[in-house]
């Protein structure tokens, strides 16, 4: 038998344990075990209440060791990581293996697998009560192959696998609790939420979220940001978005209930765009950037969970749309010939600002062949005229036109100001009332359009200023997009802009 090989290992709470200290006060029963081995798990459960000087050595990840600690009650569980040098020093072949170490540090006895008689004898020597071994195990049960007998690569892979298996537990629970939007969410553990809050008062009230009128506290907002997958550095933007969305003028109540596919679209301006690594280039309105995607998604989760807007419940949208998960993008100010959106709205260029619009999903307008700004404006006006329904005149609500950089450049090179672009689109979208009636569409704005004479001419917009121009997208490609609004004439939603507080 000889001297038990000395070791120094940390336990599941990070405390360091040396073998000589563990047997200093009397014989020690060391149990080598592994989470995925049923005999190990059953043995630890059986020894839970026996007392005695007993320590568990867990082969595997810290997460696996914590699970064994749960089975073993209050026992100390030491973490033995790949490539398992302590197990190798003990010549381990099997888990569980029970090793009795005398007070003098010698190995006094050893048993492999579950051997009820030998375990009882060793436990008694270590000061435990064999009468309290609770087990349905047979008197002999073989164990499993010890991990130190595998090659190093296999050991590392096994650890990675058990970490992954345990990490997924919280995700499954999110589905069970209904804390999701149809895609997996990040479990809002207290630690993650605290990190998201970054020292803010968790109890601060931001307001009630319609239609369920759940109270949005800073802590609940942080929980939604965690669920959405936000990094804590995004939280000042998430907070500005939430405060803007809760302003009564934005009318979150109607937006949540309506049969229209309305949802908040978020435009971000100013230096925070670069700070968070937001994407205003290729796929600005699409997928693939964490900040773009998760900031918009955090607001959706506030609406769905705190505000109770669930599909077919308090959210009655007929078709909805993929933009209802998230639609948040930075303006690509550097590629614009004009002042950015936030400067148009009176903010300083150096301020970071979020602007919220209530919109449908993006509808693309392609123009690859126009040679002049005039021709391009005609194409864009045709696209704008078709939104909602072709005969729905006027929209009477702010409408976001996202110009791709090449389209913006065509206008810029021609010397057109943003206001000139708006005015031209306003003019070119005009139709006669007779022409609209001739479509046979019942979807006409009744009072101010349908009641007029056939010869009267109306624009798609009440004024050029209703066309909101922002620039985004990659360097190549001539695809712009319109974000059509919800109900017009002041009935729907009024856009809200808000400064991001650092």
């Amino acid at each position: 038998m000889g001297t038990a090989p000395p070791f120094t290992l940390t336990d599941t709470s990070g405390a360091v344990h040396r073998l000589d200290a563990l047997h200093a006060s009397g014989p020690l029963l060391a149990v080598f075990a592994e989470r995925d081995c049923p005999t190990s798990a059953a043995a630890l459960a059986a020894l839970r209440d026996t007392g005695g000087n007993l320590v568990v050595v867990s082969e595997g990840s810290p997460e696996a060791a914590r699970e064994l600690a749960g089975l073993a009650g209050g026992r100390t569980v030491l973490v033995e990581r790949a490539p398992y040098p302590v197990s190798a020093a003990y010549g381990l072949q099997t888990v569980p293996t029970f090793v009795l170490v005398s007070a003098g540090g010698d190995e006094a006895e050893r048993a492999e697998g579950w051997d009820a008689e030998a375990v009882a004898r060793m436990l008694e020597a270590a000061g435990g009560d064999p009468g309290r071994i609770a087990t349905d195990l047979p008197s002999l049960k073989p164990g499993c192959q010890a991990r130190n007998t595998y090659d190093e690569a296999t050991g590392l892979r096994l650890e990675a696998e058990d970490r992954a298996a345990l990490a997924s537990d919280g995700v499954d629970e999110m589905w069970e609790r209904g804390w999701h939007d149809g895609l997996p969410t990040v479990p809002p553990t207290r630690e993650r939420v605290r990190a998201m809050l970054g020292g803010r008062d968790p109890g601060e009230e931001l307001g009630k979220v319609p239609p369920a009128m759940g109270l949005l506290t800073m802590e609940r907002l942080a929980a939604c940001a965690v669920l959405a997958g936000c990094d804590p550095s995004y939280f000042p933007v998430v907070e500005a978005v939430a405060r803007a969305a809760l302003e009564p003028a934005f009318n979150l109540h109607g937006m949540q209930n309506t049969t229209h596919p309305a949802a908040p679209a978020i435009v971000v301006n100013g230096p925070v765009r670069e700070r968070l690594g937001m994407n205003g280039g290729s796929n600005a309105l699409g997928f693939g950037n964490r900040a773009n995607a998760t900031i918009g998604r955090a607001l959706r989760l506030v609406m769905a969970l705190t505000g109770g807007g669930t599909p077919g419940g308090l959210d009655q949208s007929t078709l909805g749309g993929p933009h209802k998960w998230t639609l948040c993008f930075p303006e690509r100010q550097e590629a614009s010939p004009w002042d950015p959106l936030h400067v148009d709205k009176g903010f300083a260029a150096g301020e970071s600002v979020v602007s919220l619009y209530c919109t449908e999903g993006p509808a693309m307008i392609s123009d690859h062949y126009s040679q002049s700004a005039d021709q391009l404006a005609a194409t864009l006006a045709l696209g704008l005229a078709g939104v909602w329904a072709g005969a729905w005149y006027p929209l009477a609500a702010e409408t976001v036109l996202v110009l791709c950089t090449e389209h913006a450049k065509t206008f810029g090179d021609a010397g057109w100001s943003k206001q000139q672009v708006r005015e031209r689109l306003f003019e070119l979208s005009k139709r006669s009332v007779g022409e609209l009636k001739a479509t046979g569409s019942g979807e006409l704005t009744p009072l101010i359009t349908y009641a007029q004479d056939d010869g009267a001419v109306v624009s798609k917009f009440l004024s050029p200023e209703e066309i909101v121009v922002v620039v985004a997208g990659s360097d190549a490609g001539r695809f712009s997009a319109v974000l059509a609004p919800w109900a017009g004439f002041g009935l729907g939603s009024t856009p809200v802009s808000r400064r991001v507080e650092a």
Binding site: G170, E173, R177, W179, P187, P188, T189, R190, V193, P210, A212, M213, G214, L215, L216, E219, R220, A222, A223, C224, V226, L227, N251, H253, G254, T258, L301, V302, L305, T306, G308, P446, W486, A487, L491, G492
Partner: protein, 91 residues
């Protein structure tokens, strides 16, 4: 203690109690709320006729300024004097 922070205000999960049902329409005061969608009035006019045939004492016609927002307090307080309210969603 839950290891997670809930995004939900638990009070919103408690079901609201339904208003007591009327035992009879005889002598009842019934509110008809038009949420201001097109043709809602046509529907409620017919409902009013049917209610009067069935012995309703008074019909109170109510109207929201817009269907896109919750009813304002003055409309809700008018509804308070009604035994029951019928709401027209229309379109």
């Amino acid at each position: 203690m839950d290891r997670y922070v809930s995004p939900i205000d638990e009070r919103t999960l408690e079901p609201l109690a339904r208003a007591p049902r009327l035992a009879s329409l005889d002598g009842a005061v019934i509110g008809l709320l038009d949420i201001n969608k097109p043709r809602g009035e046509q529907f409620l006019n017919r409902v009013e006729e049917l209610l009067r045939e069935r012995g309703v004492a008074e019909v109170v016609r109510l109207r929201k300024p817009t269907f896109t927002r919750p009813a304002p307090d003055d409309v809700i307080s008018l509804a308070d004097r009604c035994g029951a309210v019928v709401e027209a969603l229309a379109d």
